[in-house]
Subunit: 329 residues, 2 copies
């Protein structure tokens, strides 16, 4: 069975790829365990790190909305697709046309190519808590309506509706996870409005000064890179009946604040690390971030066996161990 | 100012057109009252009745998703668009591709052509209570999440999300009304799964036998043709500030049952009319109709001045007077 990851050169895509190669199998549309014989990573960007040496693994560069590329990417042996590719929140807000093209139009092309297989392949989609927003209850419940306040959040919500209908019709077997903010991401700050949530600890721990664009009391709903990958795998493995009609849910996460993260970083790296931080509020980022919810009661996800992380300190420790080889700068 | 009605050859489109010609003005994007100098009805079907003789009125046949047609339809003088054109519920369920093309893709083209004007035109969109569905609360509240169970309902919900984002960005000034089932529609039964709700009284009152595809106890949330037209006008006239961020709401209606409608018909036409009815449950129609809600607490709409009808008897009396010239067959 072939497995595809869109956005496969991204940090989470690569992590998921390594985990899939290690596992060696997934569940196909018939509910049977199948060996992964091919794993294709698609991305518009080249991977920033060398890919694992593995004969099953291929990288297919290009735009997943291009018909010619889709013909190569989605072939009759494709049993499972992890759809992670997206223009991030800040990018989709800055360039409406780009966000609509990639996050909505291209995704529709992908759904159509999966439908054309007529094998009801499994699709795991990275949705986002940005699908919520505005005047929200104190704690988000499973039945809190989606009221996105950004183009990115709207595009994620719309994709969930499409996936629900494609699934109901038997065109594919979709599962959409509203991801918390992933912390700690390695790499560099990017255009995601949530970029600060990783950068505020990553940059100082790596020895780089960082100007945080939001206030210390800013709340964030977070999940670790490790746990998001496990959640994608768990979403894929669950039987269709367990999902039932509604194919989207908010993943369990942790409620934290920028200040909590800074305190946990101080515990690991001391005051010299914290001194690398400065505070330069950016009203555009703050406006977007303020629309995101920070407290959830993800009952359905917990009942279905999805798990949150143990705590923010653990998440920072994992980052130092996995990405900095245990060395704080 | 030019005003456009898509689906303008339909029953509601024509009724709205007559009312607009009578009124002679609407509110433009600046909030000013403007004379309607042109009223263009677009539809893929020819109007089934002669259009009113009026120099302001034009009929433009064709598919509103065609770029060449859109260039003619949406011109710089277009101040207001009523977007009524759609593949109906049963049709979109029967032909997925057709529903997606017309209800979603073509609507996106229309939104883009309005955006390209750069004048923030007002857009009134006919959404539907089919955007709700499934395991619903006894009474639908303003914050009940959209959980469509049909492709049609999904396409309506998605369009609401698009209109919200286009409005937030200032590309247009959108207002979406989730229409109850419109009763009594003149004409013939069509592919709308809700077709029975009018046919069950219209056909017998016109002297035609009718096999009702749903059981007498089937509940329906209804609104009259007259009141839906007034609601479209009211939606257009309300200031943008009154709408605020959320540009969609469920219109006030009446909760009735097929049996209530039959009883009201008996009061008007006697037993001989009721004898023209037979009961032939259609599982496909019943499945779709069962997913629709029948009780609402449309607080926000009522607060904003939208109104329901006085009662089902009045709605049937209006039909006999307006469409049958007072003569029951």
């Amino acid at each position: 069975m072939k497995v595809v990851i869109t956005g496969g050169a991204g940090f989470i895509g690569l992590r998921l790829a390594r985990r899939l190669l290690e596992l060696g199998h997934l569940i196909d549309s018939s509910g049977e365990e199948r060996a992964i014989t091919k794993l294709v990573l698609n991305d518009i960007a080249e991977p920033s790190v060398p890919l694992p040496e593995d004969t099953r693994l291929n990288f297919l560069p290009g735009d997943f909305g291009e018909p010619a590329l889709l013909d190569q990417l989605i072939t009759p042996d494709t049993g499972v697709v992890f759809h992670l590719a997206a223009v991030v929140s800040g990018g989709a807000e800055e360039d409406f046309d780009l966000g609509m093209r990639v996050n909505l139009h291209n995704t529709q092309c992908l759904l159509e190519s999966l439908r054309a297989l007529e094998t009801c392949p499994r699709l795991v989609f990275a949705s986002s808590v940005a699908a919520y927003g505005g005047d929200l209850p104190e704690v988000i419940q499973d039945d809190t309506p989606l009221t996105p306040q950004t183009s990115y959040g709207g595009q994620k919500a719309i994709t969930e509706f499409l996936i629900n209908d494609y699934t109901r019709r038997g065109f594919l077997d979709g599962r959409a996870l509203r991801l918390p903010t992933i912390v700690v991401r390695p790499g560099k700050p990017n255009k995601a409005a949530s970029s600060f949530a990783s950068a505020v600890v990553r940059e100082p721990l790596q020895g780089t000064p960082y100007a945080c664009p939001v206030a210390p009391e800013t709340g964030v709903w977070v999940l670790s890179p490790k746990q998001v990958v496990e959640s994608f795998l768990h979403a894929e493995r669950l039987p269709a009946e367990t999902w039932g009609f509604h194919r989207a849910l908010a993943l369990p996460g942790l409620t934290t604040t920028v200040q909590d993260m800074v305190d946990a970083m101080r515990a690991v790296g001391g005051e010299k690390v914290v001194d690398r931080l400065s505070w330069e509020p950016d009203p555009v980022i703050e406006r977007i971030v303020r629309t995101w919810p920070v407290r959830f009661a993800p009952k359905r996800a917990l009942d279905m066996g999805f798990e949150a992380d143990a705590g923010i300190s653990q998440m920072i420790d994992d980052f130092v161990r996995e990405e900095l080889q245990g060395q704080v700068a």
